[in-house]
């Protein structure tokens, strides 16, 4: 890890940890919103971490974003920092003029219906399910096509053209269904190279890093608890069965972490499609091991609402399904690999990252 990354890791964990109190998380799950804490976050500069700086090496903005996203997962931050920083980063890279306030994004793998009127007015129609934090956001980032061109657009989330049905994921994080009816884009850009699939890929990578953080938190809790809890006259950590399970979990977490960090390291202007798919598969799969092993080690106390373990496991179950579950990304990888054929497998696997793009 570079000094820069270490610095970001430390400061992100400190600040986000302070804001992720049990009370703040409970307030979020109850549908509350704390504007004061959110201003603290926006003032911290983390929302701009994914904005490319002039003169820096290609992809540096991705490397420095990983520790922030990881900290969001590690601390169960009850605020939409991941979505906000992602939208700012994408807008900056795409050359889309920014919008005030909180921006969230809608991802899907189907094309969104966009219409461009002769006077240059772009309108958006469609039903967008499970948009993260839509109720708190001012603008929505969407991707679609107009006249054979990829279009990235910002749509206002307040007004008559927007219908919002509040919902939540398993972890109680806001996921609202948004219906747009001839919603006028406040800003848009065509031909920036960001297609529908690009938004999905970006969010998949973001969720992968968050899952690694959440899984590490679950592992840490389980390791600590196994040393504290005594049964049959000795600590749980003294039992081989417990040691073997936790070692297994450490293996799964390390695998997910290694490949997710690799996807951030190989990202240039955008992350590499293959690397994102692999990261989301392995990070998603860690949810199974983390939840089953960490809960097994904790016994009944970990199943109690008062214990913090569920903050991490419920997030893992939520995030593994968002932005494409493991099966979605595995199918993408598999189709490509089968089409390429067995004789290409090793050459493709070892192809240098930039050549793959």
């Amino acid at each position: 890890m570079s000094d820069m990354q270490e610095l970001i890791t430390d400061s992100a964990r400190r600040l986000l940890g302070e804001l992720s109190t049990r009370e703040a998380i409970a307030r979020m799950e109850g549908g509350g919103w704390d504007p004061e804490s959110w201003s603290t976050i926006t003032a911290s500069g983390f929302v701009d971490v994914l904005v490319e700086e002039a003169g820096e090496a290609a992809g540096d903005h991705w490397s420095r974003t990983y520790p922030v996203l990881h900290a969001i997962g590690l601390k169960s931050l009850p605020f939409p920092l991941a979505e906000a920083l992602l939208c700012r980063g994408i807008a900056a890279t795409a050359g889309l003029a920014g919008a005030d306030g909180l921006v969230t994004l809608a991802v899907q793998d189907r094309e969104l219906q966009l219409e461009l009127s002769p006077n240059g007015r772009l309108t958006v129609d469609g039903r967008l399910p499970e948009v993260p934090w839509a109720r708190c956001a001012d603008h929505l980032l969407v991707a679609g096509r107009v006249a054979d061109q990829d279009v990235l657009a910002l749509v206002g989330l307040r007004g008559d053209h927007v219908q919002l049905a509040q919902g939540a994921n398993i972890a109680g994080e806001p996921r609202d269904d948004v219906t747009l009816r001839s919603a006028k884009a406040v800003e848009w850009i065509a031909g920036s190279g960001f297609a529908t699939g690009a938004l999905l890929r970006h969010l998949a990578l973001v969720r992968s890093a968050m899952m690694v953080g959440a899984a590490e938190a679950a592992l840490e809790l389980a390791v600590r608890y196994s040393g504290e809890r005594r049964q049959f006259g000795r600590a749980l950590s003294q039992f081989q069965a417990i040691q073997q399970m936790l070692a297994m979990l450490a293996g799964e977490v390390t695998a997910a972490k290694t490949i997710t960090r690799a996807a951030f390291a190989s990202a240039q202007r955008e992350p590499q499609a293959f690397d994102v798919a692999v990261a989301k598969v392995r990070a998603g799969r860690v949810a199974e091991a983390a939840a089953s092993i960490a809960h097994q080690v904790h016994g009944a106390i970990g199943f109690a609402r008062e214990h913090p373990l569920h903050l991490h496991t419920r997030r893992l179950w939520s995030w593994r399904a968002e932005a494409g579950a493991e099966s979605y990304w595995a199918e993408c990888i598999g189709r490509e690999a089968i089409a390429r054929g067995g004789h290409q497998f090793w050459a493709d696997l070892t192809a240098s990252q930039t050549a793959r793009a």
Binding site: V223, S226, S237, Q243, A247, I259, A262, I333, G334
Partner: protein
């Protein structure tokens, strides 16, 4: 758990150039090798092939030139290893010598022995085997009973080694033996010896494995006399030496690539429009990509002289899970021979039978996880 962070490692242009060179060589050298033969992975034995690799300078790559080595980087060596494994080359005749016996001799043999053996090992001329397991000592390695007694200037060896891969075809063994019995300290009093397998008093009997191959052996020492310089390193320091040797044994790409030929065959036989195939194989591709990143990260640590002994057991465990999941997926997708091709079928039959050994050799899954648990602070 910051204890488990495998640093990123990327390969430079020199490594990638070398990769192309190796790949081209292998395409020609292995043109006649069938998929089923390739599936033998690093169990395939061919002295001639090993000598050909040696002639190219691809054995003993990191060793000093004065011992026949080539003073190349650990990452360049890594590239050669992963290429020969992915191609299914028969590497067993040099694998142990190149991976662990050579480095062990470099660290612990006397100058004369190094001069005598290392250049021949780097040429692919000498086959080494690993003298660790015994009939009553597998995972509990420190409980070995093979004894070495000092008789005047020389040593006398008595005992039995078991499950010794390729002993029947090997020239030398590096054997772990007890030199002194230290009460309540089973890790003390062990020493390592270089054993010329032609020594009188050494009897080698092949043991068939479940595939019907005579790959491993029982090696009996009956008053076998070894010269004074056969003691490697320090008398009584065998446990530390063998632990370092095991770290080398556990850290390489062979620990996740044993089933790669089956993966290649499956990708050839699968149908692109079959969703079930795509998901199952896509999951495996993701695992291969993940394990390669982890394995490369370990190689990067070794290159920088960092201790990878804490992390390599974890990577080996993950690697064996992939190696063993692959034949299971093959069965789920292609079992019953309705959609299979002859080469897929042959590779599948081989790999499913070889798979149990993947989480035994080089340290069982339980031993590896025990090491990981120690790193977690659990024991």
């Amino acid at each position: 758990m910051e204890a488990f962070s495998i640093p990123e490692c990327s390969l430079d242009a020199q490594c990638e150039e070398l990769r192309m060179e190796v790949r081209q060589f292998l395409a020609e050298a292995l043109a006649d090798r069938s998929p089923a033969q390739r599936a033998e992975s690093w169990s395939g034995f061919d002295r001639e092939f090993s000598r050909a690799l040696g002639a190219r300078g691809w054995l003993g790559m990191t060793w000093p030139k004065r011992y026949g080595g080539h003073e190349r980087t650990a990452l360049e060596r890594y590239v050669v290893l992963e290429e020969v494994l992915a191609a299914g080359a028969p590497v067993a005749a040099h694998w142990v010598a190149d991976r662990q016996s050579g480095p062990l001799l470099l660290s612990h043999a006397d100058e004369q022995t190094r001069q005598r053996l290392l250049p021949r090992m780097a040429r692919g001329e000498l086959v080494f085997c690993i003298g660790m397991s015994e009939p009553d000592s597998g995972s509990d390695l420190a409980s070995i009973r093979t004894r070495a007694e000092r008789i005047g200037d020389a040593w006398q060896l008595n005992g039995t080694k078991l499950w010794t891969s390729h002993a029947g075809r090997a020239d030398y063994m590096i054997a772990l033996a007890r030199t002194t019995q230290v009460k309540d300290a089973k890790h003390a009093g062990l020493s390592q010896f270089l054993v010329d397998l032609k020594t009188p008093g050494v009897t080698i009997r092949p043991v068939l494995n479940l595939l019907g191959e005579a790959d491993f052996s029982e090696v009996v020492f009956d008053d076998a006399k070894l010269p004074a310089d056969s003691l490697l390193g320090t008398e009584g320091a065998g446990w530390a030496q063998v632990t370092a040797e095991l770290a080398l044994e556990r850290s390489g790409p062979e620990r996740y690539l044993s089933s790669v030929q089956l993966m290649i065959e499956m990708l050839g036989a699968a149908r692109v429009d079959e969703r079930r195939d795509a998901i199952a194989l896509g999951n495996l591709v993701a695992d291969f990509a993940t394990l390669r990143r982890m394995s490369l990260g370990i190689a990067g640590m070794l290159t920088r002289g960092q201790d990878a002994g804490r992390l390599s057991p974890l990577v080996k465990d993950q690697g064996a899970l992939l190696e063993q999941r692959t034949p299971q997926v093959a069965h789920e997708l292609f079992g019953g021979a309705m959609h299979t091709t002859p080469s897929l079928d042959a590779v599948m039959r081989y790999t499913v039978q070889a798979a149990p050994s993947f989480s035994l050799r080089g340290g069982t899954r339980e031993i590896l996880r025990g090491i990981v648990a120690k790193e977690l602070g659990l024991r």
